[in-house]
Amino acid sequence: MRFDKPRHFRQSMSWLHTWAGLVLGWLLFAVFVTGTLAFFRNEITTWMQPELHSARDDGHGLERAIAVLARKAPDAQQWSINLQGPRSPVMTLSWREAPAADERRSAGRRGEEGGDADSGLEAPGGRGEGAREGNRGHGMQGEGMRREGRRDRQEGTRAAGMQREGRGEGGRSEGMQREGMRTEGAPRQELRAGGEPGEGDARPQRGGEGREMAMAAPQAEPPQAAARQQGGGGGGGGGQQAQNRLVMDPATGVILQPRQTAGGNFLYRFHFELYGMDRLTGRWIVGIATMFMFVAIISGVIVHRNIFKDFFTFRPGKGKRSWLDAHNATGVLSLPFHVVITFSGLLLLGFQLMPAAVVTAYDGDTRAMAQEMRGRGNANAPLPRPSGEKAALTPLTPLVAEAEREWPMQGVGAITITNPGDARATIEIRQARTEGLSSRGAARRLVFDGVTGEVLERPPVAESSAVSSAWNLMTALHMGRFASSLPRWLLFASGVLGSLMVASGLAMWVLARHKDRETLGRTPRGHRLVEVLNVAAVSGLLIAIAAYFWGNRLLPADLAERNLWEIRVFFSVWVLAALHAIVRKHKAAWVEQLTLAGVLTMLLPVLNGASGGVHLGHSLGAGQLQVAGFDACALVLGALLMFAARKVSLHVPRVKPGAKSRPADASKAKEAEAVDELVAGLPVALKTEEA
């Protein structure tokens, strides 16, 4: 496009849409795909820990959990049970040991205040939810999250605070595991100190150390080194088994030992922080890409003049026209999703992209802001002291049933028992999900007397202000935390459509310039670059993700730093795919890569059955929907990829005699002319650039 001549508004917007979409489109595709998968990250983590697949629920898990806790931690001050549910087949048990008398005050309600780690610093509203989801993601993440969450508040000072985890260096994204390890190794004392605002000085230096490391560590530092440092910093926690956290099969009471895995959390973290760089840098890059996405969406709506008339229109088999139709359909059909997910994504990164508000109003103290946003001042209220009298704990099952009656839609997520075995025991039951989007983080609770089983209180849910309601609404939508299984699948479906939209847009950039290449008689270097990047970013990423799951099963289960190896598999395969895209011709590269991705993905259920997991026939029959859902999805998506590969391979472009170009996918000449001005107008921009 030339800027020295007046253009029509639509033409300018068309130019903007093309280039805003292209420049970071490859990154956006990766963000969309991994983000879409992240809606199911707990399920993915479960799949990646086949040791958990055979866990069942027979309705008597609570009694077994209490028995296990009574055996393992008879003197604990507080027991926590995260129930199995639609997103996790196992129960997670954890406890905190009774502290020395003078330290008692700080224990607080962990479930409520912890666990912000998975939403990062930008989502201070999400404590309760975060903690709960984290805990339900069995493995070791839950604990780590809570831990990190507390630390957030403790040392979360301005932007640097975001690096607090010392995860800025190479090995950061597999973090969950490492956080987990650290927590395991860490004496509880420190945990409490970390969580107590009044004891800032007593806070272990590790926090500070972690931050320094994040700033100072060279980016090239090998992840293992980082891990070692972390381990050392973490109080020598290393690879020890958790001392205060267990994963239990509800039907047998057996303590399970899941393998180490980067799990769904790697994909989740990658979608907003990338990998292998400082997490701040990663967020900046993704933030900028998100802004481009927003620009592309708005300009796309403007350019697309017949939104209603062409709403259902898809004309297959017509080359460029079909691609444009597909791009429009995937964009328009889930337009509400695209707008919300992009805008809320910007909001989530907002404290980093636009820190002015925090800097002025709170003097850069993000912790203060987070506390005010939460609107809960008493999160660190002291636990009630035990009376010293022994008394038997009331059975939990009737209490849970009562809570279920009270919240039929939300269900019960977690149970916290304070002073178990004491006459003053209390039992707190929390909702699995909140009732609305604006009240995120404010799950309802029921507090029972631990001996008589009477309801002691129904703590009111804190009213949130209009501003924080709006914030909660958007962020909850983005993260799908509210979602029971149907909304979660709907979000996933929209995410898939969004990924298709980005991919078709990228492909169209190449297609729209087919005529140029024919006229020119060769493929300009810029075109070739886009071709290669398209293949590497789209099919290459899909191969890499499939390989990541293969790696999860093929690497030895007891391999040290297993989670890092999984990530290495992911990136090595991605790099190989990119090399392949460079050496192969464009069409061949697409066909081969799509086929490979399809085959790898479709065989995942077979791999699952063959490598210790529960195979599809069994998991469906036994109602293990987390595992069955993953396998079924892999089958369908793999089949679609193979179908796409076949389509591309069958396509015979009509190349004008004498043209030396290798068109990716070309349309018949007469259709090319009939294509509307959007596509036809695009090459103008390019010609100007080439000139």
Binding site: K309, F311, F312, T313, F314, R315, P316, A329, L333, S334, P336, F337, M409, E435, G436, L437, S438, L473, L477, F482, A483, L486, P487, L490, L491, A493, S494, L497
Partner: protein
């Protein structure tokens, strides 16, 4: 079940909307219906879409209900669009059938 009702209403709504459009009506029925009938279909379609918000909000609450509503509409519209491209004929009665099924299920269960 309530979710299926919302989905059926959205499906029927989009179905009616696409029949109300000249080009698509030709694909489904074979010829373009009269102007008046197309208007009727259009009103029916928009009406059903708007009404389907009702059960969604009733069942899930205002905020989550709206999100679910948008999500189900996306899926419904996607299905209608796919059928229209590859197998337009079933669209003659699909929406109605889904609606009847949804109401029947709601009454029976």
């Amino acid at each position: 079940m309530m979710d299926f009702l919302v989905f059926a209403m959205a499906l029927a709504g989009f179905n009616a909307l696409c029949v109300s459009m000249e080009r698509h009506a030709k694909q489904v029925v074979g010829h373009a219906p009269a102007e008046g009938r197309r208007r009727g279909f259009s009103a029916l379609g928009w009406g059903l879409l708007a009404l389907s918000l009702g059960p969604a909000v009733h069942y899930h609450g205002a905020s989550i209900g709206t999100a679910v509503w948008f999500g189900l509409m996306t899926v419904a519209a996607f299905i209608v669009g796919l059928l229209l491209s590859y197998r337009p004929r079933p669209l003659l009665g699909l929406g109605g059938a889904a609606l009847v099924l949804a109401v029947a299920l709601l009454l029976v269960v």
